[in-house]
């Protein structure tokens, strides 16, 4: 007996997949943000050895397919280190690392966008390197970075769909399951695509709001 019709339970399944995708996206974005900013700080302080290593690692992660990184972590790491790794753990590690690499690139260019003269002025006023970073560089760099960051977040949301390949039951995997059972690819993949589209739109709108706020001081308020 085959259950080829859509049922009420499919909506529950869809919501579950949506929850897994959103949760993994949020978790890896946060972890990636922390690691990426830490890498960028290494560069800001010009830490010998670690700074160029971070740059090389970021370049390698940025220029290779996420799918291969995912396979390396999920299939490769357990063999190399003789340990067990669940698909969700592998997805967390890979996506966090990948996000961190892109955050690093954005953070570095944002820090560089702050003029050298400002750094020199801060130094003349006797601010320490950390104070300069905290009070002068960060507020301006944050406003500069938000545009690229919004693009990155929308992109990383789409990248989460790849974890379905290693067996995490996210939104795409739910789509694959429903597709195989109902054999109605057009309806299934349209619904899945629409859900991703709406999420991407939501992220872009949220980023635009924050950006407008950070840039408020630049806006012409009238005389």
């Amino acid at each position: 007996m085959r259950y080829t019709d859509f049922s009420y339970h499919d909506i529950v399944l869809l919501l579950q997949g949506l929850g897994v995708s959103v949760a993994l996206f949020a978790a890896t974005t946060l972890i990636g943000l922390v690691i990426g900013l830490a890498w960028a700080t290494l560069r800001y302080y010009r830490v010998p050895l670690l700074a160029p290593l971070a740059a090389l690692l970021a370049e390698l992660l940025k220029n290779s397919p996420v799918l291969v990184q995912l396979f390396l972590v999920f299939f490769g790491l357990p063999v190399l280190l003789e340990m067990d790794l669940t698909p969700v753990q592998a997805a967390l590690i890979t996506l966090s690392g990948n996000t961190a690499a892109f955050i690093y690139v954005i953070a570095v260019s944002a820090i560089e966008s702050v003029g050298r003269d400002q750094l020199e002025t801060a130094r003349v006023f006797g601010l320490s390197r950390w104070q300069t970073l905290r009070r002068i560089v960060m507020p301006q760099a944050a406003a500069f970075a938000l545009g690229p960051l919004a693009g990155l977040l929308v992109n990383q949301l789409q990248v989460t769909s790849l974890i379905s390949v290693i067996g995490v039951v996210d939104l795409t995997k739910v789509g694959a399951i429903l597709n195989l059972r109902t054999l109605k690819p057009f309806i299934v993949w349209t619904v899945i695509g629409l859900l991703y589209y709406l999420m991407a739109r939501l992220i872009a709108a949220a980023c635009a709001r924050v950006e407008a706020r950070l840039r408020a001081h630049r806006q012409w308020k009238g005389l």
Partner: protein, 226 residues
């Protein structure tokens, strides 16, 4: 570096018998990417012209296309085509489906780069062409596209790099391109870490070379500017 503190050693020599398989996969990746590059360039030029056209209807249609293909994950687009097309009687091979999906997704990003190139053309140049009485087709073919494409080479290079990285997802529809053949090699040798680490470096070197080439081409084509 990679084997430093690990219990197992990092041994690439036992993979040498499989280099032929990997090379075959790489050739398929190159072939698919070349076709997809051509497809997305054609599509990207058309869509960019529509997005910069005077007609708001053409603009709207093109914007919807770009919006949809940029905001839906590639793997969902791929599955939509791979499972959906046979449903409406279009039987394509995995390779053809993959190239079609890559071209459609690449077209959206390509059109962005070309559109930026078109918008960067000085209005005076177009006005001069119109005043000289050139027909519209000639203005597009002789003036708009050469200038726009020339200034878009570097951004197009990064779109192409992304296309190569995205092509690894074609392994999900049974196509044994570079990533797909590496999967087989990893299963055969029981050395997944070595295989995928090698693959990662291969892709990184390949895309690095492509972006170097795009940069060089960009400088060469724009050598008379500024």
């Amino acid at each position: 570096m990679l084997s430093g503190e690990c219990s197992l050693q990092f041994d690439l020599t036992s993979l040498t018998p499989y280099f032929g398989d990997l090379a075959a996969g790489a050739r398929l990746t190159a072939f698919a990417c070349a076709l997809a590059l051509a497809g997305s360039l054609i599509l990207g030029i058309l869509v960019a012209l529509m997005r910069t056209a005077a007609s708001t209807k053409a603009q709207r249609v093109a914007n919807v296309y770009v919006d949809v293909f940029r905001n839906v994950p590639f793997i969902v687009q791929l599955f939509f085509l791979f499972y959906g097309l046979p449903e409406i009687g279009i039987e394509l091979s995995a390779l053809a489906t993959g190239v079609l999906a890559l071209s459609l997704a690449g077209g959206a990003f390509t059109s962005d780069a070309i559109r930026a190139g078109i918008l960067a053309i000085e209005p005076g140049v177009l006005e001069a062409a119109q005043v000289s009485g050139l027909p519209r087709v000639a203005i597009y073919r002789r003036i708009v596209l050469p200038i726009a494409l020339r200034s878009a080479v570097r951004p197009l290079g990064s779109v192409f790099v992304n296309l190569i990285l995205t092509s690894s997802i074609l392994s999900a529809i049974t196509l044994n391109e570079l990533t797909g053949s590496a999967k087989i090699v990893a299963a055969d040798t029981f050395q997944p870490f070595e295989v995928y680490a090698l693959l990662l470096v291969l892709y990184a070197v390949l895309t690095w070379l492509v972006s170097l080439a795009a940069g060089a081409l960009h400088r060469r084509l724009n050598r008379n500017q500024l």
